[in-house]
């Protein structure tokens, strides 16, 4: 399978199954519309006649020869033979956990998928006892995995920070005896960040996700305090204090864009202008009836906006600056292995979420969906059937993904979005797919330009 597209005056050709990326000229681009394997030694006469209206015959034949050469070397139209790996893979150890340390929040963001913090289940804080059980569960279920990931999530985790500290201390105390290394992360709206918390987070957390949507008017329209006033002024002041002392540890400022700010490249640039260079801004996920929801009719605008964002980021780079935009990150030479790419995030199989009640779900987005409740820490229950279902959920078990060029980049998309908006974890959520594919084209283009620069 191949995928080709035009962007920024370049034609890009992706060989899906090998991951090969090529820059091609217009003749090759058009010729590929007319030919497919197996290839004869000579270009078919009918194709030459058709294309000779626009191109010299000698060039067409030359292009054909180059395509055939790459095909013969198994660099183009390579076969998809990964399904055997998907079918033989067995359920994995659990190595990552999203710990819902607080089902409560001090903001009332309009688009919150967690029903402004409580996931529709009432406002609650996790006790240390439940957190300890979660750590024990993760250690026990992680088998031989050395690195264990634990994300403190909410609601707003800083509302229960003493318990965060206790859980970190407990987990660290068990690392040596169990041969494990915990990698803690935290996702926060920043409202309660202070110097003590900043010190602790910088010491203990390998990554921090700081929620902010961008420009003040954009952020404050959706990310409101309980009183209804905006959160921008306070969080910007806290984040500006936090990031410079972060050292070499990872962080992202992470925003959500909605129908209200389809010009979101301005928000990315605003965040950069504030002094942040690790940035993720993502489309809101919402029922189409919500006024802020992104719908099919917005897609053309969004596609153009990603191209504008690409231009802006490249311009920053030309001027000696740097923006790391999460969804444009891609390593075309040494990204994740093909096996990793078959299953995506690993939710429900190697990744679970735990609520303040000790309930276990496949991930934070499934919390509250009873059908997918996997068990409870207090009761000592865990539904292996659900885990096995997720272990068997991969790009080859999703009909729309099988034939999609992007399957080894998004790995079948978000199972929760598939379930919530497309009715089944195996159904593609088409709106997400459309946006994902455009982001990938921009990401591939950006990396291709980088590699070309390096060669020159």
């Amino acid at each position: 399978m191949i995928h080709k597209f035009k962007l920024r005056d370049h034609n890009i050709l992706l060989d899906v199954n090998s991951g090969g990326v090529h820059i091609i000229d217009d003749i090759t681009y058009d010729l590929l519309d007319h030919i497919k394997p197996p290839f004869d030694d000579k270009c078919p006469q009918g194709v030459i006649e058709e294309l000779s209206k626009n191109y010299p015959v000698g060039d067409i034949e030359e292009c054909y020869g180059e395509i055939k050469e790459l095909y013969d070397e198994k660099l183009l139209f390579t076969e998809d033979d990964y399904e055997r790996f998907a079918l033989t893979s067995v359920a994995s150890p659990i190595k990552a956990m999203c710990l819902h340390i607080a089902h409560d929040c001090n903001l009332r963001c309009e688009y919150c998928f967690a029903s402004t913090g409580d996931f529709g289940k009432g406002r609650k804080l996790m006790t240390f006892e439940t957190g300890r059980k979660a750590i024990d569960f993760l250690i026990k279920r992680s088998a031989a995995r050395k690195f264990l990931e634990l994300d403190f999530f909410g609601g707003e985790p800083l509302m229960n920070f003493d318990v965060v500290k206790q859980i970190v201390e407990y987990a660290r105390s068990r690392e040596k005896e169990c041969g494990k290394t915990f990698r803690f992360t935290i996702t926060t709206n920043g409202m309660l960040l202070d110097d003590d918390k900043i010190d602790f987070i910088n010491r203990e957390m390998s990554n921090v996700v700081l929620s902010i949507d961008g420009r003040k008017e954009v952020n404050d329209r959706m990310r409101k305090r309980v009183s209804g006033s905006g959160s921008y002024d306070r969080i910007v002041e806290r984040f500006k204090r936090f990031v410079p002392v972060r050292g070499d540890k990872d962080y992202y400022v992470r925003g959500t864009y909605t129908k209200y700010n389809l010009d979101f490249s301005n928000d990315v640039m605003h965040l950069y202008d504030l002094g942040f260079d690790q940035i993720s801004v993502e489309p809101v996920m919402a029922e189409p009836t919500e006024p802020y929801a992104i719908t099919e009719e917005d897609l053309d605008t969004i596609f153009k906006e990603y191209e504008i964002l690409l231009d802006k980021i490249l311009k920053v780079r030309e001027q000696g600056g740097h923006i790391n935009f999460f969804h444009f990150m891609l390593d075309l030479d040494q990204g994740p292995c093909a096996i990793k790419r078959l299953r995506g995030c690993g939710c429900g199989n190697e990744y679970v979420a735990v609520t303040p009640d000790g309930d276990i779900y496949p991930c934070h987005q499934f919390v509250g969906i009873e059908e997918y409740k996997m068990g409870n820490l207090d009761e000592g229950t865990f539904n292996e059937d659900i885990k096995n279902e997720f272990a068997a959920t991969h790009v080859y078990s999703k009909p729309e993904c099988r034939s999609c060029w992007a399957k080894f980049y998004c790995s079948g998309g978000c199972n929760a979005n598939n379930y919530i908006y497309a009715g089944d974890i195996h159904n593609a959520h088409k709106l997400s797919c459309s946006i994902q594919k455009k982001r990938l084209e921009c990401a591939i283009m950006m990396q291709a330009l980088k590699l070309m620069d390096t060669e020159e």
Partner: protein, 47 residues
């Protein structure tokens, strides 16, 4: 080649044979939390 410029190592096939060690990060934990982009994760096989 005159018409096609290959710009990376097309090595996905090779990674399948020796991959699957499971050491790399669960992708959703890194920044997104609402979408899924796996290809931007790092391989941590030798970490």
């Amino acid at each position: 080649m005159k018409h096609i410029k290959t710009i990376n190592k097309a090595n996905l096939k090779k990674t399948a044979e020796k991959g699957g060690c499971g050491k790399c990060q669960a992708s959703c934990q890194s920044a997104c939390k609402t979408s899924c982009t796996v290809a931007n994760q790092k391989c941590e096989k030798d970490a």
